[in-house]
């Protein structure tokens, strides 16, 4: 079933073209819905390329849109002479999983760009990385380029150096301290047990006496009936013999 849908697509930053009656228009309407201030900026870079043919837009990717500090920032380097890619497609994927998407999605670049329809930032970042890979740059060089533009914010995890070491080691240090504290606590309990052994022996004797007369007083917290308990007691006594 086909529907006739009116939709408008924003081209560049001025004209509203009204398309009518086909999937493209529908798609354009979808797209228009997608764009919030930030996403719109980057969306153009992704979708522009994909949409150029159908929407007849001559808009170039991400070049004519304003960026906010948290959004896409171009990372460009001239290709190395005689460049050959230093990374395979799989390595590129793994690389992108180490980078946080600068949009508020809290995902990594690879996951975001393969998932989120609305985020235009991760595909734009991907394009930059791809260009750098094609330009012959190694993973370390690209990482350096990314962090010099975005700061360490772009890394999925804090660097294991300087102040950020605290992030990595504090949890383990806390657990280690806890383990030592528990060890000390247990030891002190044992000391308590040793010093209080005489009193406890007396108490145990009293307990045993009490147990003799009433094997399981109702206050000890049992879920079985007295009858069951008596039978269990008997069975256990037999077992012990």
């Amino acid at each position: 079933m086909r529907h006739s849908i009116e939709g408008a697509v924003r081209e560049g930053n001025a004209t509203d073209a009204t398309l009518r009656g086909d999937r493209r228009a529908f798609f354009a309407a979808l797209l228009r819905g997608a764009v919030t201030a930030v996403a719109a900026a980057a969306a153009s870079s992704v979708w522009a390329t994909r949409l150029q043919a159908q929407a007849g837009s001559s808009q170039s990717a991400a070049s004519n849109v304003e960026m906010t500090s948290d959004s896409y920032k171009p990372v460009r380097r001239d290709p190395k002479p005689g460049a050959t890619p230093q990374m395979t497609e799989k390595q590129l994927e793994a690389f992108e999983r180490e980078l946080a998407c600068p949009c508020p999605c809290t995902l990594d670049v690879y996951t975001c760009r393969t998932t989120d329809f609305n985020c235009g930032i991760s595909p734009a970042v991907h394009k930059d990385i791809k260009a750098l890979v094609d330009g012959g740059y190694t993973g370390d060089e690209i990482m350096a380029a990314m962090t010099s533009t975005y700061g360490d914010f772009i890394l999925m995890t804090p660097r294991k150096q300087g102040f950020n070491l605290l992030a990595w080691f504090a949890p383990f240090a806390a657990v280690a301290i806890g383990a030592v504290a528990i060890g000390a606590l247990l030891r002190s309990w044992r000391v308590n047990a040793a010093t209080g052994s005489a009193t406890r022996a007396a108490a145990a004797a009293a307990d045993a006496k009490a147990a003799e007369s009433a094997p399981f007083p109702p206050s000890t917290g049992l879920s079985a009936t007295p009858d069951e308990l008596a039978r269990l007691q008997a069975a256990l006594r037999n077992d012990g013999q």
Binding site: R2, H3, R23, F26, F27, A29, L30, R32, G33, A34, R50, E98, C105, T106, L107, D108, T111, T114, T115, D116, F117, N118, G151, D152, F153, L155, M156, T157, P158, F163, N164, A167, W168, A170, P171, F172, A174, V175, G178, A179, I182, L186, R187, W189, R190, N192, A193, G196, F216, P218, S219, T220, G221, L222, S223, R231, L232, L236, D239, G240
Partner: protein, 676 residues
């Protein structure tokens, strides 16, 4: 009704204030009439909060768009069910919903203790009153759902389409029921601290509430995972997002409490620790609410940034300081005479269990807050993403899993070597067998192998416990297998319900480890073209595009892509994923388009299809994921909830009044083992 509701909100506020005032002064002066008045006022607070809530629901269903909340989160064409759930879709409404649960719980707690724990009830009622008062104040002055617009829009903005999902309809209430339930144990802890009655008595009053909280938090978290998995489209269910973490933190300390409470009940030890855990659990639930609602940390789930955060921060600080003061002045009363014969005992295992749980809690909190710390100290914004949490919590999680198996095998007080050998043989063997089989099958992933080794061990423990228990019953009472199993569980609900929960936890760990073998690929295909892929089990999959279609449905326009799927040449049916553009009643698009993923579900693995976007009318970009064992996450969650129900299920009065039921079985462990 809307006006009645609005006025009721203010009356509820006054009632909560009255409750607080007279309960505390009644407690100080020892005047029963004031205490009684406070309790009645608390019931009234609940009644008026109900009226205030009904008012909002009325506004939602009558589409009164002059009310900002209604206009912001609903539209005239929103399906009825989501109009109902819109109550908790936005900041102001969800706070009122929170207050509704809070006052309900408060009323229930006071009612069920009307002839019990009387000496501490004035303080308990007063503390509950303070919390109710805080929430009602936040609502009245910070985010009032009855706030009016100065004009009446023709239609509302509608509900975020990602919230138009059955999971999202019930996930928040479950989470709130769990988070709010931490207030009652907290109130009892305060009551016990003020009245200096710090023996096991107050624990008896709160155990059920702590369980209730744990139960709802578990369901809420699992439902949240399910929602994220089916709705957000990134093919995962847990991203260590700040909001996810904030619901996880009180769950961890709550779980720790449910274990350590047994030591106090049985041995009278760990009084300080138990009070601390109860208090920390409550404070973490408030902290989580603060994180979620202040916008201080970026998150996909967070509410819009608002001043409500300041209220929560203030409350958090005041509550922390007052409680710390209260505990510090009661340290002598919290002194317990602790004795332990051996380092190898169940008490020790429980302590390390608590260490692992609290350790994970600390690590998670630390990772969540570290970006703020870094920005404050170094002025640098950094990201602490899922790889960090996995790296740090992975080892701690495995430690916890190991303890889940070890704890039940060790006797209280002291374990003898021969007893240990007898108890550990089968579980260790079962873990080793699982490990050997998986290695033979070619599994090499270290974390996964460790997980399955430990999972086999814990399963062995649980199986052995049931086997021994059932065997003992059958010998003693000549019961059939079924009757013996049922009675074993029925008569020892805490113990065997607990094992069922452990079973669910093990299943969850197995499912988590399964994601180590996740595979995915992104592709762009024209109609008729086929994507070929191999999953981790070695099956050959083929996805043939049936083309992109578009249609209208309810309040949305849909763009869909379908694939005919085969596995090793065998037809597996159609798999579709949709892009949905929601529209308002004037057919104008609302919100961003959302993804409806296609999932081919099976216990072995989910095939998870995401429609990334249409390139043109014929060509679709998709992301295909093979997610092993995800089905078991939901199954494990259901088992945990099921075990929780068994543990909570009321027993006959005589049985319920008693303490920890594991006392006899834990001793009989040794003896039954000797007889076997």
């Amino acid at each position: 009704m809307i006006l009645v509701g609005e006025l009721s909100l203010w009356v509820a506020l006054l009632m909560a204030a009255w409750t607080t005032t007279v309960s505390f002064s009644g407690g100080v002066q020892g005047r029963a009439d004031l205490v009684k008045s406070g309790e009645r006022a608390l019931y009234a607070t609940f009644a008026f909060t109900v009226l205030a809530s009904i008012g909002i629901w009325t506004a939602l269903f009558t589409h009164d768009f002059s009310i900002k909340f209604v206009a912001s989160y609903t539209s005239a064409n929103l399906p009825k069910i989501y109009t109902f759930t819109a109550f908790w879709a936005g900041q102001a409404g969800s706070l009122l919903f929170w207050a509704l649960i809070m006052t309900l719980y408060s009323a229930l707690a006071v009612f069920t203790n009307r002839s019990k724990n009387r000496h501490m009830m004035p303080w308990v009622t007063g503390t509950l009153g303070v919390i109710c008062l805080f929430f009602l104040m936040t609502i009245c002055f910070g985010a009032n759902p009855y706030e009016r617009l100065d004009w009446i829009p023709p239609d509302g903005r509608g509900m975020n389409p990602q919230l138009q999902n059955p999971g999202m309809a019930i996930h928040p209430p479950m989470l709130y029921l769990g988070l709010v339930a931490t207030s009652v144990p907290f109130a009892f802890a305060i009551g016990a601290l003020i009245s200096r009655r710090l023996d096991a008595e107050w624990l008896g009053a709160v155990r059920r509430w702590a369980l209730l909280s744990w139960f709802f938090l578990t369901i809420g978290i699992i439902l949240g995972m399910w929602w994220a998995y089916v709705e957000l489209g990134w093919a995962g269910y847990w991203a260590w997002d700040a909001v996810e973490n904030s619901s996880f933190l009180p769950w961890l300390t709550g779980t720790a409490f449910l274990h350590s409470i047994m030591i106090q009940e049985k041995r009278g030890m760990l009084r300080k620790w138990n009070v601390t855990l109860v208090v920390v659990t409550f404070l973490l639930s408030i902290l989580g609410t603060f994180i979620t609602r202040s916008g201080i940390i970026e998150s996909v789930h967070a509410f819009a940034q608002s001043s409500v955060g300041n209220w929560f921060l203030g409350f958090l600080i005041v509550a922390t300081v007052l409680t710390a003061y209260l505990v510090s002045t009661r340290l002598d009363d919290l002194q317990s005479k602790a004795e332990l014969e051996s380092m190898i005992s169940r008490e020790a295992a429980f302590l390390y269990n608590n260490l692992a749980l609290v350790g994970i809690c600390f690590a998670t909190l630390w990772g969540t807050l570290f970006p703020i710390l870094s920005e404050a100290v170094k002025g640098e914004k950094i990201t602490v993403g899922p790889p960090f949490f996995n790296a740090v919590n992975g080892p701690l999680g495995l430690l916890l899993l190991a303890l889940t198996g070890i704890g039940p095998l060790i006797a209280w007080r002291r374990a003898s070597v021969s007893n240990l050998r007898r108890q550990f043989t089968f579980p260790v063997l079962s873990g080793v067998v699982v490990f050997a089989v998986l290695v033979t099958l070619g599994m090499r992933n270290f974390y996964a192998l460790m997980s399955y080794l430990l999972a086999g061990f814990v399963m062995g423990t649980i199986a052995q416990e049931f086997y021994k228990g059932i065997g003992a019953r059958r010998r003693m009472y000549s019961e059939g297998l079924f009757a013996a199993s049922m009675r074993l569980i029925g008569r020892n609900r805490r113990r065997y319900g607990g094992y069922i929960v452990h079973f669910g936890v093990v299943v969850l760990f197995c499912a988590f480890a399964g994601l180590m073998f996740k595979k995915d690929l992104a592709a762009t295909v024209k109609t008729g073209e086929t994507i070929k892929a191999t999953d981790s089990y070695g099956h050959e999959w083929a996805f043939t595009s049936q083309g992109v279609s578009q249609f209208e449905q309810l309040n949305r326009k849909v763009l869909a892509v379908s694939f005919a799927v085969t596995r090793d040449g065998k037809k597996m049916g159609l798999l579709s994923s949709e892009k949905r553009q929601h529209v308002d009643s004037n057919d104008q698009p609302t919100f961003e388009p959302s993804t409806e993923v296609g999932i081919l579900e099976s216990p072995a693995q989910d095939v998870y299809l995401v429609f990334t976007g249409a390139v043109d009318a014929e060509t679709a970009a998709v992301h295909i994921n093979f997610n092993p064992l995800v089905w078991w996450v939901w199954f494990g969650g259901i088992m945990m909830a099921f075990g929780g129900i068994i543990v909570m299920w009321p027993q006959a009065q005589k049985e319920r009044e008693s303490g920890y039921v594991a006392e006899l079985p834990s001793e009989s462990d040794v003896l039954v083992g000797a007889g076997a």
